[in-house]
Symmetry: C2
Subunit: 327 residues, 2 copies
C-alpha cells in the first residue's frame, strides 16, 4: 500500500530529449521538466543530464528526496530490466550501459529501467486511452514503429524480454528496405522515416509539395510530426497520399495483430497521433475492420488514439515502478 508521503519519478529518455516528472501516490503530477540530449553524446554525459533533470523536478515538486520511492527510466532500445542495463539503443549509440546503477549513484534514489514503448503503453493502459482493457496492444508510430503487449493487464515480455517488436512485422515481402536490414517491415512502410522517404521520392519524381519549404522555414532537417501536420493543413497532396498509404499499412498491421491476439483494445500512440489524433487513427481503424477474420466479434475491438501525449512514457514509467515495487 502506498503512503501519502510516497513519491515517484518517471523519466522518458528519447533520442533527442529527456522528459521527467514527479507524481504523488494518486498519480497527481507535481512537477515536470524536459531537457535536450545531444544525440551521440557519451552515455556519461547523457546520464549526468538525466540526473540533473531528476534533481530539478524533485526540487520543483517540493518533496524530500527520502520520500521518493523510485525513479524508472524508459529507454529507447533493448533493455535488461532485471539488471537495469540498456543493452542496445541505436538512436543513442549505446551498448550495454548500466544506466540504473550509474544514475542511482548520482541521484541517490532507487532507479529502474525499461523500454520506452513498454512504459508508454503501460501509461496509456493505466491512465489514458486503454483504461480497463484486459488484453491490450500498443503501437507507437515515430521515427520507428514500436509496440508492447499487455495480457491480463500486465506487460507481456516474452521468453527473453523481446516481445512487442510489431514494427518488424513483414507486411510486404520484397518491399522497401528497413533500418533492421530486412525488406517490407511495417516500420519501412509506415513510420515517419518511411513517410519522409516517400515524400522525397514523390518530389524527385516531379510532384510538387510544400514539405521542403516548411522544413526550411522550421529549420529542421527531418520531417517531424509538426511538419506533417503543417503540410496537411496546407492540403499538400503529396503529404496526403503518403500519409494515406502509411495509414493503410498500419490498418493491416493492426488487423494482423487482432487476428493473432484478439485483444480488446489497440492504442495507437506516438508523435503523429499527438498531432493528428483521430484524423490519423480513423483510417487505420477503417482498414483494420476490412481485414478482420471474425468480422462481427472483432469489430468490438477498440482501436483508439493515445490520450497522454508526450507524457505517456514518463507517466507509464511511474506506473511500472509502482507495479514492480508492489505499492
Amino acid at each position: 500500500m502506498p503512503n501519502r508521503k510516497d513519491y515517484f519519478v518517471g523519466v522518458d529518455l528519447g533520442g533527442t530529449s529527456v522528459r521527467a516528472l514527479v507524481v504523488d501516490s494518486d498519480y497527481k503530477v507535481l512537477s515536470s521538466g524536459k531537457s535536450r540530449t545531444k544525440s551521440r553524446s557519451k552515455p556519461r554525459v547523457v546520464i549526468a543530464e538525466i540526473a540533473g533533470l531528476i534533481h530539478e523536478v524533485i526540487e520543483t515538486a517540493g518533496v524530500r528526496r527520502n520520500d521518493v520511492r523510485a525513479a524508472l527510466v524508459g529507454a529507447p532500445g533493448a533493455v535488461d530490466p532485471h539488471r537495469g542495463i540498456v543493452k542496445e539503443a541505436p538512436n543513442l549509440g549505446w551498448t550495454d550501459v548500466p544506466l540504473a546503477a550509474e544514475l542511482r549513484n548520482q541521484v541517490r534514489v532507487q532507479v529502474m529501467v525499461d523500454n520506452d514503448v513498454n512504459v508508454g503503453v503501460i501509461g496509456e493502459h493505466a491512465l489514458g486511452a486503454g483504461k480497463g482493457a484486459k488484453n491490450l496492444l500498443g503501437i507507437f508510430v515515430g521515427t520507428g514503429i514500436g509496440g508492447a503487449i499487455l495480457i491480463d493487464g500486465k506487460l507481456f515480455e516474452g521468453s527473453r524480454g523481446g516481445a512487442g517488436e510489431i514494427g518488424h512485422t513483414v507486411l510486404a515481402v520484397d518491399g522497401p528496405l528497413c533500418g533492421c536490414g530486412h525488406r517490407g517491415c511495417a516500420e519501412a512502410l509506415a513510420s515517419r522515416t518511411a513517410m519522409e522517404r516517400d515524400v522525397r521520392a514523390a518530389i524527385k519524381s516531379g510532384r510538387k509539395s510544400v514539405v521542403p519549404k516548411i522544413m526550411k522555414k522550421k529549420n529542421h532537417p527531418r520531417m517531424t510530426s509538426s511538419i506533417i501536420a503543417s503540410a496537411l493543413k496546407k492540403n499538400d497532396s503529396v503529404m496526403r497520399d503518403v500519409l494515406k498509404r502509411a495509414e493503410y499499412y498500419l490498418g493491416i498491421l493492426a488487423a494482423n495483430a487482432v487476428n493473432l491476439l484478439d485483444p480488446d483494445c489497440i492504442v495507437i500512440g506516438g508523435g503523429i497521433v499527438e498531432r493528428l489524433g483521430e484524423d490519423f487513427v480513423g483510417p487505420i481503424r477503417s482498414t483494420a475492420g476490412k481485414y478482420f477474420l471474425h468480422g462481427d466479434s472483432q469489430r468490438r475491438v477498440r482501436i483508439v488514439p493515445g490520450k497522454l501525449g508526450d507524457q505517456a512514457g514518463s507517466l507509464g514509467a511511474v506506473v511500472l515502478a509502482r507495479q514492480r515495487l508492489g505499492i
Copy 2:
C-alpha cells in the same frame, strides 16, 4: 488429483474424418479409432458417427463408461468452449451446432468442445515437440493454416476466444486471394490449398509435373500431403519450387511472430509435417532466422516439427479436458 480408474476420451473432428482415443490417467493410449465423415452431411449424421466411434473406442479399451470422466472434441472452426457450441465450421458446413449437448445425450459422458488447432498445439506442448515450453506458438499447415498460442503453458484465447488465427496474417499486400476474402494472407501463400493452386498454375504455364499423374493414380481430386511427398520423391521440380516458396513464407510468418511474441518454442504441425518432418521445417527455420530482429537471442527459439502426428489433436483433447476438470 486423478484416480487410477479415471479415463478420458479425446476426439479430433476433421473435415473428412474423425479420430478418437481413450487414455488412462498416465496418458497411456488404451484404444484408438478413425471413421470417415461425409463432408456436408447434416450435423445430426456426423454427431451420430462421432457417438458411434466413442462407444467403439470405450468398448475396445475395456473400460467402464462410468469411469470415463469426460470426452473433449476438437472441431475445425470457431467454437464457444463455455457453451460447447460449434459456432462456425466452414469445412463441415456447420453454424451454431450444440455439439457438446447433443453428443452427451448419446454417449452419456460429459462432453466438452474446443478448436482443433488449439487441442493439437496443447497436445504437442504436453506430450510432444513442445514439452517444457513456457510460451509456445503452434502453426498447423493443412488445407488452411491455423495457430494457437500458449502463454505460461496455458492456452491464450484472447478477449473473445478468437486468438491464434495466424493464417490470416497479411504477408504480401495485394498478394493472391485468400479463402477469407482478403489478399496476401499466409494461408493464401503457404497452405496446401495455395500450393495446389501454384502447382496447377505452373502446369498451365507449360511446366511439366508428375503431380496430376500421381493424383490420378491415387484417385484423389486434391493435392494431399501424401501426393506432395510422392512428387518430391520423384524429384518433381514444380513441386520442389512451389514447396520452397511456401516454406519461405512460413519462415517469414514465424519470424513475424517471434518479433511480436518472443516465444521459446514454435511447433510446426499438420499433414505436410507428418509426411516431410525436418525436410519441411528446416527451410522454415532457416528463413525465420534471417528475419529475426534480435538475432542472437532469438536464435535460441526452438522451431520444431510436431511429434504426435495425427494423434496431436485427440491427445491434446484429453489434456485440455483434464486441465478444465482440474484432474
